[in-house]
């Protein structure tokens, strides 16, 4: 029953996407919009496929992915580390909490000019921006997950002879994994978005830069290609994370 329900769900979900593409095709083929403003979908997708095999496009994707992963990895390491520390130690908590309260709602993009001035126009400033933006959801969900660990789970481990300082890694961290992964998922989407924006604002390569370059010369087709690419990248990365999640959480009850 489940499999069939799932198939019908997928079919139903394809409808609006197909519909959107059909409307898009309709608008351009009935001449409501000139090709320079809205190129037909076939043109965009064939352009995308054609681009995929050029080394320059592969290079753009590679540099975007590099920045994305570098920033995201830094955010995961810092976020999980600080989040766990804040959950484990009241002293760390007292310091981290107000700082996070101030920094979390700060629009990080506004910091980008300062990062450019301090770190230059290369990878560093973009990676830092991605890390700064992805950090807080990961940190907060780690902290939340770690401080919500069932007390009796910890007691059970302590009674079995686990020393206090090992409890953090043997019980709290594994028990917080579901929450941490939720944070990572939000962080990953943010990383996709931010890396693209940073490349749009100042860059010499990457998908965001492609969009800006195309926009300057009013090449509508080339503007759509990087946007669709980042959307597909987001979907693929999200799928990979989902796979990792279902592997790591195979013991946990469904949420």
């Amino acid at each position: 029953m489940n499999a069939r329900a799932l198939t019908s769900d997928i079919l139903l979900g394809v409808i609006p996407i197909a519909l959107a593409i059909a409307v898009w095709q309709g608008i351009s083929s009935f001449g409501y919009a000139p090709v320079t403003l809205l190129p037909p979908p076939g043109m965009v997708f064939s352009r995308l496929v054609q681009q995929l095999f050029t080394s320059s496009f592969q290079h753009e994707i590679a540099s975007t992915l590099f920045r994305l992963f570098a920033g995201f990895s830094i955010a995961v390491i810092l976020g999980v580390g600080i989040g766990l520390a804040a959950a484990a130690s009241p002293a760390v908590n007292a310091v981290v909490r107000p700082i996070v309260r101030v920094l979390a709602p700060l629009p990080k993009v506004a910091l980008y000019p300062a990062l450019l001035l301090l770190l230059g126009f290369g990878h560093e400033s973009k990676i830092t921006l991605v890390a700064a933006d992805a950090l807080f959801p990961i940190l907060l969900s780690t902290y939340y997950g770690a401080s919500m660990v069932e007390q009796k789970l910890i007691w059970s481990a302590m009674a079995a002879g686990t020393p206090r300082r090992q409890i953090l890694f043997k019980v709290v961290l594994p028990a917080a994994v579901p929450s941490i992964l939720t944070g990572c998922r939000i962080g990953l989407v943010i990383s996709c978005i931010v890396v693209f924006l940073a490349e749009m604002i100042s860059s010499t390569d990457g998908l965001g830069h492609m969009l800006v370059k195309a926009a300057r010369t009013f090449q509508a087709v080339d503007m759509f290609v990087p946007l669709i690419t980042i959307s597909l990248l987001g979907l693929i990365l999200n799928g990979l994370l989902q796979g990792l999640r279902s592997y790591l959480l195979r013991g946990f009850p469904e949420v």
């Binding site: 069932e150 009796k152 789970l153 007691w155 059970s156 481990a157 302590m158 009674a159 079995a160 002879g161 686990t162 019980v171 594994p174 028990a175 994994v177 195979r250 013991g251 946990f252 009850p253």
Partner: protein
């Protein structure tokens, strides 16, 4: 009440004190900065190998008393000792089994049971062999590689019991272990627990709010009053072992114990009704 002569006395020397609870009181601070007295001046000695139940209405602090013995909570006043040594924290000589099971969701049944022995430094292969035997003993052979979420409540509690038994605690601390189970599963687990207990006669401290369960399982039932928790009376259950549930239900001595204790609880419950 006379004990039947056929009652086999446990073959061991003079009973020694396993757990001593010495003038223990516990106060909690509630959010409104009010002090709430949960336990008031409790003194109790539990002998080695005894099965003792603590019975009382909810909110009488019976679980708190168990947590104090476990070393999870330190008493505001007084002291608890195990084998004569003051309790300062949790230790593998006292193994808890909680109503909520508290199994590690990221570990399989085998992984959960092996956790204690591995923590004690037992070699992996040996810990696994021991754990497999225990899993078989609690009736879960074939489920070694299942995750807790794939098991029913009763099975989870069997795993939790095996996990605790695996590190050979001298005392089992059972916190309403069958409280979340349906009546049928509950009965089966009570029987199985008694069978396991008959083998090695570990000391058991068993918290419950079911009179029936307390009388069926225990050598001694400690009846507590509602907040602040005090010991109202200690009832020695002199029923022969091994006990069979179906036979006991017809036994007038069993019925008398149940009725007697129900009455005590009724008295204490009325206290709780006052605003």
């Amino acid at each position: 009440m006379k004990v039947l002569p056929s009652d086999p006395a446990p073959a061991r020397g003079p009973a020694s004190a396993m757990i001593e609870i010495d003038h223990v009181s516990q106060t909690f601070r509630t959010s409104g900065r009010q002090a709430h007295l949960a336990l008031s001046d409790i003194s109790l000695t539990i002998e080695d190998g005894a099965f003792v139940s603590i019975l009382g209405p909810s909110g009488c602090g019976k679980s708190t008393l168990l947590y104090i013995v476990g070393g999870f909570v330190s008493p505001t006043e007084g002291e608890a000792r195990v084998k004569g040594r003051a309790i300062t924290g949790p230790g593998p000589d006292r193994g808890p089994v909680f109503q909520e099971f508290a199994l590690f969701p990221w570990k399989t049944v085998l992984g959960n049971v092996m956790y204690g022995p591995r923590q004690q430094g037992v070699k992996s292969a040996e810990a696994e062999a021991q754990s497999r035997r225990l899993i078989e003993m609690v009736g879960l052979k074939g489920f070694e590689n299942f995750y807790p979420k794939e098991l029913s409540g009763g099975m989870k509690q069997r795993v939790a019991l095996a996990r605790t038994l695996a590190y050979h605690p001298a005392v089992l601390l059972m916190d309403e272990p069958f409280g979340a189970l349906d009546a049928h599963t509950r009965t089966r687990l009570q029987n199985d627990l008694l069978n396991i207990w008959e083998r090695d006669r570990k000391t058991v401290l068993f918290v419950t709010h079911s009179v029936d369960e307390a009388v069926f399982l225990s050598d001694k039932v400690v009846v507590m009053t509602r907040a602040p928790g005090r010991i109202k009376q200690i009832v020695d259950i002199e029923l022969p072992r091994p006990r069979r549930r179906a036979e006991l239900l017809l036994d007038p001595r069993y019925q008398k114990y149940v009725v007697e204790i129900e009455r005590m609880i009724d008295d204490t419950s009325e206290d709780g009704l006052q605003p």
